[in-house]
């Protein structure tokens, strides 16, 4: 203890940058371990926090994935709305061509194409499997059809008025608006996404508050310790660190639990989903979280824990200091 005070400055400066970095890293490692140990000392309370966070992450993530899968499936179908204009069966080819040209020139029409009775029959023969029966029929019962695609942003009332125009043409037997149910599905999915943002945001806020509250309780129980180390010259960063690590550990654990939950739910739901999809001759199934998604979830949940802890610590340290 008899070292003169002046020697201390030299002692401090002698530490090199790399050794200080190493030391800093070691310190962080110790703090991280210590925080983990403290959380493990109260397993039930920690588990409750982590589970609440897990729920607040699982719901938005699970629903989001479900919506994503459904959107991908829906976009696989042709979502364009169209009109089917059935011409009279005995319409001559020249008139058919003339009707097509007129339809294409109509305002509000993006494009139109003619499906001749022959090509329609051929398509039907291939897809339906009724080939032999059709052969027996001896003649083609299908009428020529105009497939009309209206402008992209056509509203349903514009589509209806377009249909009414076609219906008045003398060559037209029947004009129909194909009900664009895929488009409706996409609208519903869009609504679902917005709802997800709202509900997901509220749930994430809940997760933030839960981790913040856990940290607050931990700060309360370590009030004396914080006071003592502050008096011994601990910086704000030093005082904060164990609590920040606590938040990150909670968040990271919740992320792991969330991935387990979402994967299990996907597996569990996939059985009926695949069965139902096969009834609609679709090979749709729910996808498992990708590697990238897993990383993003873990990073996101750790960030959530970090943020909750940071907010709680900031607030309560100010309180302790005042």
């Amino acid at each position: 203890m008899n070292q003169p005070i002046a020697a201390r400055g030299a002692e401090r400066q002698s530490s090199t940058l790399s050794s200080r970095t190493t030391h800093w890293l070691q310190h962080h490692q110790r703090e991280a371990k210590d925080s983990f140990r403290r959380l493990a000392q109260t397993p039930l309370a920690t588990l409750m926090t982590v589970l609440v966070m897990t729920i607040s992450l699982t719901l938005p993530l699970g629903l989001g994935k479900l919506l994503d899968d459904a959107s991908v499936a829906a976009s696989g179908w042709d979502g364009d709305a169209r009109l089917s204009i059935y011409l009279k069966e005995d319409t001559p080819d020249t008139v058919q061509a003339e009707v097509l040209a007129r339809a294409q020139a109509l305002p509000g029409v993006k494009s139109a194409r003619l499906i001749s009775p022959d090509s329609a029959l051929e398509e039907f023969r291939q897809q339906s499997g009724y080939g032999p029966a059709l052969d027996q029929l001896g003649y083609n019962p299908l009428p020529p059809v105009l497939e009309v695609f209206p402008d992209n942003d056509a509203s349903s009332s514009e589509m209806t008025s377009l249909r009414d125009q076609f219906a008045q043409w003398s060559e037209v037997a029947l004009a129909e608006v194909d009900i664009a149910w895929v488009q409706r599905l996409q609208t519903i999915l869009e609504l679902g996404k917005r709802l997800l943002w709202a509900v997901g945001g509220a749930l994430l806020l809940g997760g933030l508050l839960v981790v913040g509250n856990t940290i607050r309780l931990s700060i309360e129980s370590r009030r004396d310790e914080i006071r003592v180390i502050s008096l011994l010259g601990a910086t704000h960063g030093f005082v904060r660190r164990p609590f920040i690590y606590m938040g990150v550990w909670c968040g990271l654990s919740a992320g792991v639990f969330t991935l387990i939950m979402v994967s299990s739910l996907t597996a569990w739901l996939n059985v009926p989903v695949v069965q139902m999809a096969s009834l609609y001759s679709s090979n749709f199934s729910l996808s498992y979280p990708s590697f990238g998604t897993c990383l993003a979830v873990l990073a996101g949940s750790s960030f959530l824990g970090w943020l909750g802890a940071w907010l709680a610590v900031g607030r309560h340290l100010r309180e302790l200091e005042s």
Partner: protein, 223 residues
Amino acid sequence: MIRFESVSKRYAPQFDALRELSFELPTGEMAFLTGHSGAGKSTLLKLIMLIERASSGRVIVNDRDHSQLKGNQIALARRDIGMIYQDHNLLDDRSVYDNVALPLVIAGMQPRDIPNRVYAALDLVGLKHRAKAFPFELSGGEQQRVGVARAVVTKPAVILADEPTGNLDPQLAIEVMNIFEELSRVGVSILVATHDLSLIARFRHRLLTLKAGQLVADTGASV
């Protein structure tokens, strides 16, 4: 070095804990601070420790003007002051060793340098053999000495002691005072707040006497 320049501390409109207090404790000097309860001893120590701020006047410790310090500067200033508390302020969930090592860990000392310093400090107060014990396993006097070890382990330029001998029997009190004298000889400024008149009489250092927040007597430099 501690210097007070016309320092006042007002807690409430009607209550001045310190009034126009001026004194200087140069490097390497040891002084007693005495006075009745409520005379302002604790307030004076709190101003030096930056637990409180002066209402007016300047507190300068180790060439730092305390009124200018903000944020982490406060933390850095505290590292150069070793404080011994009447109620020890030891952390009960850590061993004696860890308690004494704490200021070094906070100051960011290399882990390999810590054990030597800690054991040297514990040796100084005669508690090297209790390093692994926890504070609650120790007697009041032993806890007090662990507090002394923790205050001196960083080799601070200033040491403050608030009734450091309150829990010690006379023999140990004298030993602790001897440690302080030894430290002051190597350049540490030491301010000991105490009621213990026999101790004051025995060691005959400079004596600052407070009464109702004012310095009413200052014997000057040590005899």
